[in-house]
Symmetry: C2
Subunit: 235 residues, 2 copies
DNA sequence: CACTTTCATTTTGTCGATAATTCATGCGAT
DNA sequence: ATCGCATGAATTATCGACAAAATGAAAGTG
């Protein structure tokens, strides 16, 4: 989540992972590899040889294999027969597929959230909407504001809107999908300075949500996601 | 999927798994353990000690650990710190949560499928609906027909209806959810002879789908799932 | 030129050692 | 006398090194 796009591949500089407190090496490796796959430091379809990863992260083979198995279940890594692991590929088909699923889940989560959300939820939505608006304006103005800041605010706002949907499973699935989309986002630089009117898009969504207008919020979020998808695809 | 509810726990009878052709031991172990968790042979919250599993399935510790990591990502197993693995617990909260997510995904998948489905899809829906109807009738009549047969038909019908949704991700997520629900289904015997009018429920769904009435199909499927949930909960 | 056989690389599985955790036991305090 | 706490031993998970199986490629032969 930190670095946007480091020296992509062939970055064999050792980046040893901290064993972390009360965390198993397997988990540490899992998070480290996931981060590097999402950020693109490990390129799509790149083969993940154990020995190399072992040198890279300074971890033994066993925790690495276990971490890779988990990533495999998460869909970020592909494991074929006896031919080892590789970073999951990136394709347009997969991306449109992903967008469909994402819209479906976000729409439903949003509807449920609007239906069940209480006052605290409303406050949170309003608060994150306000923060995001500030970041949106700053982004337009200074062109190259701290991007990770904006991303955090963006993510927080969208998370807040669906937080009251009442299903941890729905949110978990949503998280997994976002994880995947993040890869495409970061893979394409086009999205950065796309001159879309984010200020109004987000403001409209926030308004619809706070007005409890499920149909309108649903339509707007679908449009919002699809626009992102179109921009990313056309770039 | 085969056995409904074998001697539950303390079944330490060796059930060695076949290495399978062109399949790695890790995968074999993964499927075997998943089957036993879903079927209830491995009880909820039961601790999964490596040594014991090793004796049970006749597999070394490493493949087992890797399989458990994957199951962990799938949500069927919980892994805590350095305290080993355990079968994921079953709770009412989790179940209602699950039902919400399931309805959300199935509704959307169904709508998309109705929108995009072609003639081949229609045929498949009609065919599986016909088969399921036969099994439904048989189930009512003979009281205790081959249950696995009925389940296969039921599963095939519902799968057919959403098959044309156009998103592999949506279907994958749906599969994961169904996996979880299956555990609750099999854990409760109440569902078996629940005298609900399955014949008509299924027939109505099939009719709505084939008539391309997305709203009605959506409503029916939600009702269908929620009824299952209610029956299961009340038992 | 195609097919087979062999060899090297890579992945997978087994084993033994280390480190963490849990349970039981004994001591001290209330 | 009982409850709480600390200590120690046994159990258990985690890790890294070694060995076996499988895959892919190259070379040799029909």
């Amino acid at each position: 989540m930190e670095q946007i796009s480091p020296p992509l591949t062939s970055d064999d500089s050792a980046r040893p992972i901290s064993p972390a407190p009360g965390e198993t090496l397997t988990e540490a490796a899992y998070f480290a590899i996931r981060r590097d796959i999402i950020s693109g430091a490990l390129a799509p379809e790149e083969r993940l040889r154990i020995e190399r990863l072992s040198r890279l992260y300074g971890v033994g083979p066993t925790p690495l294999r276990e971490a890779l198995q988990r990533l495999c279940a998460a869909g970020l890594v592909h494991a074929s027969g006896n031919k080892g692991f590789a970073v999951a590929p990136l394709s347009m088909d997969e991306f449109t597929d992903l967008t469909i699923a994402r819209v479906a889940i976000e729409e439903q989560a949003l509807r449920l959230s609007i239906e069940h959300g209480d006052d605290a939820w409303e406050s949170q939505v309003a608060a994150t909407a306000y923060q995001l608006n500030k970041k949106d304006v700053a982004l337009i103005a200074s062109g190259e504001v701290a991007l990770s800041d904006w991303e955090a605010a963006n993510s927080a706002f969208h998370a807040a809107t669906v937080a009251a949907c009442g299903s941890r499973w729905l949110l978990t699935l949503r998280g997994r999908l976002n994880e995947q989309v993040e890869r495409y986002r970061l893979a394409s630089v086009a999205l950065r300075r796309a001159d879309r009117d984010l200020v109004h898009e987000h403001a409209d969504i926030a308004t619809a949500v706070l007005n409890r207008d499920a149909d309108r919020a649903s339509a707007l979020i679908a449009q919002h996601f699809r626009k992102t998808a179109t921009l990313l695809a056309g770039a």
